[in-house]
């Protein structure tokens, strides 16, 4: 009787779990259940790349596999490490044979909500962006023909591609699946989220609350650019780092002189873990970043009008840093769903 009861309980539990899954007939697979944090909108999912369990699994497998790089030494995860909020702690990214890239590795935190990708906005979708590091000389320096040839020789991948996209390994499945996995990297359970979106008034310390007030104040104007639930306006701004820019930034894509020195405003979520900062990793700490903005930055014709500089006390600076650190989501940084 007892055994029967156990089986019955197990069966009910399984049934309940199965009920949560939604089968997408057109994709022949179960929908991937994306947990959207309170206060967050639904991310836009392309119609040709619905999130399914098989696609996310394939994307995750590829993300961690150096098979994509020419000498099979570098994977996406080499530069995008979970414990560093999918950054690498380097000033500039490192690729095969220790080649140095031209920019700092951007975080993948909440990348599903980005309007454009890379510091210069060179790619508008995660699917297109996935092609860039594979081909980049300083990153994987690979060739899609070679990658596909390798994947087609691998029984595991043949099966994963078939299940995810009903096709052999190809560029479509590679780019779609990596994008699908990246769309699952959602972070929205930081102390700030608990305080602001989930109503837990004890989630932020007094110092963090003072820092939050400063952050959203008109005098500091941090939130003019780092705005919204994801702490970015998704625009390109020149933040006065240099009078002459070695890296043209957004102008590399648009060829407009008015875009010289403009880079995408990054999210500040998990910023505690994404140092060094700026497009070239030129600031190693949040203290240096605040000092730069307090100074008002260097003169440049394209410098954002919002950079006017400000004066804050040492205590206020610490409050601001405490607030920035309250955007860290520890659950995200150790989420086992994000590793194979």
């Amino acid at each position: 009787m007892k055994r029967l009861l156990t089986i019955l309980i197990l069966f009910t539990a399984c049934k309940k779990a199965a009920e949560k899954k939604t089968f997408i007939a057109s994709e022949g697979d179960y929908q991937y259940h994306l947990t959207i944090p309170k206060g967050f909108p639904l991310p836009l999912i392309p119609v040709d790349n619905e999130l399914t369990e098989s696609r996310v699994l394939l994307g995750k497998t590829l993300f961690y596999d150096p098979i994509l790089s020419l000498d099979s030494s570098v994977s996406c995860a080499t530069c995008h490490r979970l414990n560093l909020a999918f950054t690498d702690g380097q000033e500039l990214s490192k690729g095969i044979v220790n080649r140095t890239g031209i920019r700092n590795t951007p975080t993948l935190t909440n990348i599903a909500y980005a309007f454009s990708l890379m510091f210069d906005g060179g790619a508008e979708t995660l699917e297109l962006q996935a092609l860039a590091p594979i081909a980049d000389h300083n990153e994987m320096n690979s060739d899609m023909n070679l990658v596909i040839e390798r994947l087609k020789k691998n029984k595991k991948y043949i099966s994963l591609f078939k299940k995810a996209y009903q096709r052999e390994p190809d560029a479509f499945g590679i780019t779609r699946s990596i994008a699908a996995f990246q769309r699952t990297l959602i972070s929205g359970n930081s102390p700030f989220d608990k305080y602001y979106f989930q109503g837990d008034t004890t989630a932020l310390s007094a110092s963090e609350q003072r820092g939050m007030k400063l952050f959203f104040s008109e005098s500091l104007a941090c939130s003019e650019c780092h705005s919204g639930f994801n702490f970015t306006n998704n625009h390109f701004e020149n933040n006065g780092l240099y009078t002459v820019y070695a890296d043209a930034g957004r102008a590399r894509i648009t060829n407009l002189s008015s875009d010289v020195g403009k880079f995408k405003v990054p999210t500040l979520r998990n910023a505690e873990y994404t140092s060094p900062y700026m497009h070239n990793g030129s600031f190693s700490s949040l203290e240096e970043v605040i000092a730069h903005y307090a100074s008002g930055g260097k003169n440049h014709v394209n410098k954002s009008v919002l950079l006017k500089g400000f004066n804050i006390s040492e205590t206020e600076k610490q409050d601001l840093i405490h607030f920035l650190k309250s955007l860290s989501d520890k659950e995200f940084l150790s989420n086992k769903n994000f590793i194979p």
Binding site: M118, G122, A123, E124, T125, E127, L128, Q129, L131, A132, I134, A135, D136, D143, M144, N145, I148, D170, A171, F172, I174, T175, R176, R252, I253, N255
Partner: protein, 256 residues
């Protein structure tokens, strides 16, 4: 009753003649009902000082410096034939001329039966083609990512890719690398060529030959591109515009 019958007869005759007249008209454009497919052969060839020239062949430029071209690919798109009687017909959306592949410079294309006296095409890709996602095309498609023409960092295509080496300092060694890659919506040019009249018939496949004169690429009407001092372009800069302009001028067309 007879009047009604006469009117009906007149109407039917009118319809009959109207349809005959339609059939006699020359085709005047895309999607024309009288598109009866035959073929043309489109061939691209590479020339230097009036002679055929192939990749990796060493020749002298106009300043007497040895050069060789190691990679040459370019897109032509929206290819139209011009009917002798007027009007045009589109016969192909896009082709990738790739001298690095044995079959990359000759194409058999369906074309409607007719008499023509001109050809026009775009050098490069139009804005819609240039905005394509290269991972969505089959492997052999000209716009597939596997053609290695896609600029992944800028998410657009390179319209023309020309790489090579030259003897920049006269020491007898081809040790100066040059690389000209150009691609941007602003660089798209539509070129129109008048030709001697040629016929496309069921059992007659005329050849349309696009000739590229290497000399004119470096010493063209848009200016000189010195491979020593101006050895590369990988963006939309003045060199890219000069290179693309010269490249367009370096193309000529003949039929046989």
């Amino acid at each position: 009753m007879k009047t009604v019958q006469n009117a009906l007869l007149f109407f039917l005759l009118l319809l009959f003649f109207a349809s005959c007249e339609k059939k006699l008209k020359p085709p005047t454009g895309e999607g024309n009902a009288s598109f009866i497919p035959a073929y043309i052969k489109l061939r691209a060839s590479f020339h230097h000082s009036g002679n055929h020239f192939s990749l990796n062949q060493v020749v002298n430029d106009q300043l007497g410096r040895a050069i060789k071209i190691e990679l040459l690919k370019f897109y032509i798109s929206n290819i139209h034939l011009h009917f002798l009687q007027g009007g045009t017909v589109k016969i192909e959306d896009v082709l990738l001329v790739n001298f690095n592949q044995s079959a990359g410079a000759e194409f058999l294309i369906k074309a409607p039966i007719g008499t023509y006296h001109g050809v026009s095409f775009g050098l490069g890709l139009d804005a819609q083609q240039n905005a394509s996602d290269p991972s969505t095309f089959p492997a052999t498609h000209p716009l597939s990512v596997l053609q290695n023409t896609y600029w992944t960092w800028a998410t657009k295509y390179r319209f023309i890719m020309l790489d090579g080496k030259g003897d920049g300092n006269g020491d007898g060694n081809l040790n100066k690398l040059f690389s000209y890659h150009a691609g941007d919506d602003l660089l798209y040019n539509t070129l129109q060529f008048s030709t001697a009249s040629f016929q496309v018939k069921t059992k007659q496949i005329p050849t349309v030959e696009i000739k590229l004169d290497i000399d004119k690429i470096f010493f063209g009407s848009n200016g000189v591109i010195d491979f020593v001092t101006e050895s590369s372009t990988h963006a939309t800069n003045p060199t890219a515009f000069k290179f693309t302009g010269n490249f367009a001028d370096a193309l000529s067309l003949s039929t046989y």
